[in-house]
Symmetry: C2
Subunit: 215 residues, 2 copies
DNA sequence: GTCTATAGATCGATAGAC
DNA sequence: GTCTATCGATCTATAGAC
């Protein structure tokens, strides 16, 4: 789903663009913006620098294309499907929390957060674009789920976008910040499990409609 | 409190170091890491580049010094004093939430978060150092406050560091992320007030000991 | 469209005089 | 300790051949 242009992959030129884009995507996400040179991208794509500039006018333009595409891809994917099922409310919410945390701690998510925030001063629009296309889409999808849960009477009535933000905030804890600061241990299973359990505990204590008997 | 070395400000050399450090501090925080050149720092400090290198071995070293010092300064300051007082629990917690949000959305906080996370791959240790000296100190101070509140019977018993993380997560919402991505509106009074009120609402619903009658 | 080769500019770091 | 002057490396972007 990472087509930069409207072309299909028929023409030779479009395939080159595709290769360039994917190379840039890999390198930006794995090395960061400042450490990724046009020379390296060209090499990774198997083309020359001149060819690269024939398709993307500047490094910033290529960077924007990568951020725009990848943010949407990841945050729009079906990673939040675990909510359906016949389990009790707590189990369902815990699975949802795990899925959210998985997304928030994904190396690509961490990398793009790092890059976009670092370059937000130079790209006033890109930051907003990224937010709308990424994090805000997650909020929207969660809000829709919680809306349903409120209609069903599982959760008490509240602004569903607020509920989504609170849910994310509770589950995230300090794990995403630590991941962004380079703390590898923030991604460990133990840390994640604890964040999910304690976060969901608080979430249900505040938002569960009736009385949720815990484990 | 931003002394890099143990010297006092007596000697001429120490005053020069001080000026260099403060210039670097201003420029790094206002322009970001990659946009701040040694030439610019020297000019801002009123010295030559050679003098600058006589006191700091490299740009990275100067950057580390700035991050290390400023993180501690801000997160250790007495900005959390608003919790004491004779108000009811909700009012107190709301003032605390405002103080936390003020800190999290402070331009310098946003700027250093951006920079450290962006450079975390090159500086494996600096990220951890920053976390311990900054965000983790905030968690610790909040945990101490909540510990007291639990002893007093105002809040129900729980791991106080978890409580602190949940508190921060609830109040922060998506405001700090948006601020880091360059969204100026994230710092508006309206946004902050709403985040404080709705966040505290959920926090008390989950953690208040008895029954907290709301407004 | 794609290549090689290089221009053009920036910047971190240093040499050497005072 | 501080200066001026400059080196050397790196990187973005382009010119011109095929």
């Amino acid at each position: 789903m990472a087509e930069a242009e409207g072309h299909k992959l028929r023409t030779r030129g479009a395939r080159t663009v595709q290769r360039i884009f994917e190379a840039a995507n890999r390198l930006f996400l794995s090395r960061g913006f400042s450490e990724t040179t046009m020379e390296a991208i060209a090499q990774e794509a198997g083309v020359s620098k001149a060819t690269l500039y024939a398709h993307y006018g500047s490094r910033d333009e290529l960077f924007s294309a990568v951020i725009w595409a990848t943010a949407g891809d990841r945050f729009a994917s079906g990673a939040l499907s675990g909510v359906t099922g016949a389990d009790d409310l707590r189990k369902k919410v815990e699975r949802l929390a795990s899925a959210v945390l998985e997304l928030l701690l994904h190396p690509d998510t961490v990398a793009s957060n790092r890059m976009v925030s670092a370059e937000a001063r130079r790209f006033p629009e890109l930051g907003m674009l990224f937010y709308e296309n990424g994090p805000n889409r997650l909020i929207g999808r969660l809000a829709a789920l919680f809306d349903t849960a409120m209609s069903t009477g599982l959760l008490r009535r509240a602004d569903s976008r607020d509920v989504a933000k609170h849910f994310i905030g509770l589950v995230r804890g300090d794990l995403q910040l630590r991941a962004m600061l380079g703390d590898e241990t923030a991604m460990s299973d133990a840390e994640r499990r604890h964040a999910v359990i304690s976060g969901v505990d608080v979430f249900l204590a505040a938002y569960a409609a009736g009385r949720s008997d815990s484990d």
